[in-house]
Symmetry: C2
Subunit: 227 residues, 2 copies
DNA sequence: TCTGACGGTTGACCAAAATCAATTCCGTCG
DNA sequence: CGACGGAATTGATTTTGGTCAACCGTCAGA
């Protein structure tokens, strides 16, 4: 978990387009950026654990971060997989003092780390910046609710089909995509055991889905839509 | 779904204490209240469906409202049960133009209905009001994430035990509570079929949980904690 | 008092997915 | 090139909870 103070061009672009920065004018964006430093993570670095004192919220610039909770036993459940452009723990700006879940880098990851007390001060001065944060929170809430609904009513193949449909590039009736991360991360994201994901893919094989490593081809999107 | 313009004392108090109003000074609270009208609902009234054009967000003053989504077939899953003091659909203020889930009153319910365009204008003028909305969104997000985590890692009896522990009043090692709504609503809230809730209660009987109608007694909280 | 509706419970059964174990695949490193 | 290690797959088994159907208790209305 080394630190640097510089962003490369790609990372700066990701940050600029993140929901947490969207719609801000130049000064506002600059003010928010001034609250942040950059963090380089190695795979499996734990950023914080549930219950830790909250000092920062984060925006993923590259790599992936998983958010999770434990229960009494050693078991843990993933809540979200954050991709480049996603922010997390911004819900603590106006609420709790401790993190309500753990966060772990799943790859070499680059993060923007925003100092919450600084952001609070900035928001007092320039409350319009809060609009971007509200938007980010809202999107995040909506997607979490959708995730909950799909956990509660869709089977594993349905969830996988839905993921494919929302992430593929269409090419006539056919479509294809390349997973941006290994399958075990996709399984976590969908709330499945890796084995269940594997079986879901083999179920979908009969519906025209071909999987070769991370490359996935869909022969007919409409077949997939009616699962 | 009749309308009135007046609040009784109890309803006014619930609104004043709602997260969406918390921490505002008198003027700010008054400004926000001016964006709202009151709505009286009969049981099973549908407030809106997924996809409807979003004009309002709501705060429950009495009764209960369930939020839900459908999938392709007739099936539907509950996302949240809103109780007095809870607001919903405030995530649309700065994002979508259509509701992302349906909402249905589960009882005679009284709601404050905030006109979103008016609230947007108000926020431009008095952006500090956004802080209360952000706090409400944040709490809402955290509780949805917790719900997702518990769906993914806890069994039915564990979820029920957790509900009891977080809602009971302690009395030494013992504790008790009275459900504020019928059991079928609790089942929806926990993402269970009513039968599964019933079975969970009978599992918990061996752990010192006694159920008589809506009245529940717990003989030893610590036994319940280690489930 | 009878009747019907409704919420809740119970039993039997089934489907989905977690778990455990064994094996295969694949990329990396010696 | 071969060996190793992590990821992915497959099979066997078990657990969990959904579904369907029957039944019970309570309450409201005839």
């Amino acid at each position: 978990m080394n630190r640097t103070l510089t962003l490369n061009g790609h990372e700066a672009a990701v940050l600029a387009k993140a929901a947490v920065m969207a719609g801000l004018d130049h000064d506002e964006a600059e003010g928010l950026r001034a609250c942040a430093t950059v963090l380089l993570c190695d795979p499996h670095d734990v950023l914080f654990e549930e219950g830790d004192k909250a000092a920062y919220f984060y925006c993923v610039l590259s790599g992936y971060v998983r958010l999770y909770r434990h229960n009494g036993d050693g078991r843990q459940a993933d809540i979200r997989i954050c991709e480049p452009g996603d922010s997390f723990a911004e819900c603590l700006i106006h609420t709790a003092e401790t993190y309500r879940y753990g966060a772990q880098a799943m790859d070499h990851a680059v993060l923007a780390r925003f100092h919450i007390p600084k952001v609070r001060l900035l928001l007092e001065e320039r409350p319009r910046i809060g609009k971007a944060i509200m938007r980010s929170l809202s999107l995040h809430l909506i997607s979490t609710m959708e995730c909950l609904a799909s956990d509660r009513m869709q089977t594993a193949p349905q969830r996988v089909a839905n993921y494919l449909l929302t992430h593929c590039v269409e090419d006539g009736a056919a479509a294809s995509l390349r997973l941006p991360f290994p399958k075990n991360l996709l399984a976590r994201k969908l709330g499945l055991a890796p084995e269940a994901l594997s079986r879901a893919f083999s179920t979908l094989k009969t519906r025209g889905v071909t999987v070769r490593g991370r490359a996935i081809a869909i022969s007919d999107i409409n077949v997939l839509r009616q699962i």
